[in-house]
Symmetry: C3
Subunit: 302 residues, 3 copies
């Protein structure tokens, strides 16, 4: 993985969401207190999980202002919540969606890579891997209710799910746009996209760092369905009903058969992948670039 | 591979064909007497092979009432007939079609898995493997004239061919729907489908056990062409002419280059795949489920 | 790889271009004298390279009459020119196009395989490999401006590029049609096509030696864009601008990540692939077939 400042880029509103995002780290780290009851609702600082035991379906709302950046803290919360749901036999399906307006998730949080120790960067990257491993290998039916833009890590998160429903709003976009920022999507981001849209589409999308409109994303198969913005979550719940009709055991074994080779590849290379990331991200030149990029983001907010 | 009763399912007419089928085993086993003459017609109990030596094309009619279930006996007949054609240098192309109304083949015969000895189950599974290996690796041009529904093993059989022409009747369906019945399609069923429609479509199709209408099947590339019901066989013959214009040797080497890795994978794992199947299918719980499923089929017929 | 005479075939005008082509070898071998200046133009006998240092984009015009056959001499010129551009840090993009009317490139030159020593055949095949390795692995942005028919080796050349723009003239065609001539495309031709249009489309295209019209090629993804014939080159230049906006380093690493496994496969098997080719092509029967084929080409010209 390689990162480089991309000073030419002049991103607009969509551009902002299309890039590595940063968020405050002020909130104390807090594990989500998920309690599986008849119909429970558990809330951490950054995520809210509603679990309806009668249907066996949980809805995970990402509510980390402003753009659900995937920070170390947020990733940790998400993974803990997911693990609890995974261990709860009564939970068979998971819908993941955003409580923030106009954005699903803006991707990895740049503040966890800037001015941090190699140890912190390594911990952060392990959390990114962990999120992917847990979602892509989940035994639950996972549906992404993509109710806003979903660049970079946000796109990756949605691609780990079994099904993607996106808001049909042409102002939203989705894609692995890392290259546009001078970054290279790691091999397992690439593998996930190849499994979703095929080799050729992935090659062009990754080389150009393409962000697709919902209509374009549907056409290439990056999302499976478009619905009106306020129907995304309800459609996800309805779709879940269809998936729940399939015997769990057969569905899980089938899913594993499809995804295991891709998962095994990262699992066997986690440490090298972390080292690769840390070595790159802690370079002086990269840190300088990240600093300039953050300055630019600050000025734009002001 | 895992099998589980799916008692929730309430299949209709199409549903019946969409599932593991069963047929009487009363008929004594009889090898098809194929004689390659100017224009020969050979008939076993369950298949009829018409070979036109002037064109070099054979047509294999599956005529095993009611739904061309792939029983051990039927599979054996099919394999013997295919082997004879394969060894006959004058036979360059094979069309496979059904003589039964409304169905191409309903898939594997459940009676060969229920109440049978582990030895019988193993023999049955070897025959399923053998059919796939022979068809997917055939040196002949193989065209499936899919003139009816083609679920599960029927879909697999059609996917082993070089080209698929299906009747454009919206009441027919095609797909690997094993998961819906609590079964997991084995890896080589999966590989065949990935080679045909790609990774993502296969992942969703197999997880949901999707059966596609002819129009949907054409759209995802599961079949290559739709024609009116009574034109399926003639179109297959016409299409064959186009394929026969290609020099055999180059076409055969090309086909082998495309399919060898997939074939080698099963060839190297046949025994483990058989053991896996037998171990699963002979479980008490699975046998009980199969028994209940057969009861349900009987009641529906009555 | 296997070659066999295909005497049944009666090719028309398009047919001529669809086949192994032959060209005179009269011209002395001459390396292209590429000089990177403000706006330089360098010319060998068979290729002309215009390099605009202000944009960082070079345009390689293939001008080897009559149909840009890929002879040993021509391949050598192309490789030398490409290598020079590759080493020139100021050159970031390459457009490859044809100066010959109605044809991009007609593919490998049959005269380098007929009546030649095994050593010559080996040298020729190494040059074909070299061209593929250099283009498919190029660090530059490569765009094929396909302004004419592009069968066999011509199709391969265009597929090595990052993007393909083709003239929207229904009289042109593109495809790997080797099988139609009794030849088998080698595994790395096949791999390149699978990476471009997927497994199933490649299987059928290679088995039937299909040549696609521009509209069909667009539909299956063999080319990316169609424009009016006289707009091919200008569109390529405009498209290049979009690609140049991507940071080189990230784009190059991404491209390498996508293509490395395919490149490594040939790189590890070059010698065996050469031996395989030479052993086949020097067979008496094949040489006889090539001779008859050349006679036929001569008669058609007369």
């Amino acid at each position: 993985m390689a990162l480089r400042a991309c000073l030419r880029t002049k991103p607009g509103l969509t551009g902002l969401l299309s890039q590595l995002s940063c968020s405050g780290h002020a909130a104390a780290r807090r594990a989500p207190a998920l309690v599986a009851q008849r119909s429970s609702s558990s809330t951490s600082q950054k995520i809210k999980v509603d679990f309806d035991q009668s249907s066996g379906v949980a809805v995970m709302h990402m509510q980390s202002p402003p753009v659900n950046s995937l920070s170390l803290e947020f990733l940790t919360d998400v993974c803990i919540a997911l693990e609890k749901l995974e261990m709860d036999k009564s939970c068979r399906g998971l819908v993941i969606t955003s409580s923030q307006p106009k954005v699903f998730s803006a991707g990895l949080d740049i503040l966890d890579m800037y001015g941090k120790s190699p140890e912190h960067c390594a911990e952060f990257w392990k959390a990114v891997q962990e999120m992917w491993l847990k979602f892509y290998g989940s035994n639950m039916i996972t549906i992404a209710a993509v109710n806003g833009s979903s660049p970079a890590g946000g796109c990756l998160l949605s691609m780990t799910c079994d099904y993607r429903i996106m808001a049909d709003n042409p102002r939203y976009s989705i894609g692995l746009n890392e290259t546009k920022l001078g970054i290279v999507a790691p091999f397992w981001f690439k593998d996930t996209m190849v499994n979703t849209v095929g080799h050729r589409t992935t090659e062009m999308a990754l080389q150009l760092g393409l962000l697709y409109s919902p209509a374009e994303a549907l056409k290439i198969g990056l999302v499976d369905q478009l619905v009106h913005e306020d129907q995304v979550l309800t459609t996800a719940t309805e779709t879940m009903t269809k998936w729940l009709a399939i015997p769990d055991h057969a569905r899980q074994l089938t899913k594993s058969m499809m995804r295991k080779p891709t998962i095994d590849k990262l699992a066997a290379n986690r440490e090298a992948d972390v080292n690769n990331f840390v070595k790159f991200i802690t370079k002086d030149s990269i840190q300088k670039s990240l600093g300039m990029y953050l300055e630019m983001l600050k000025r734009r907010k002001a």
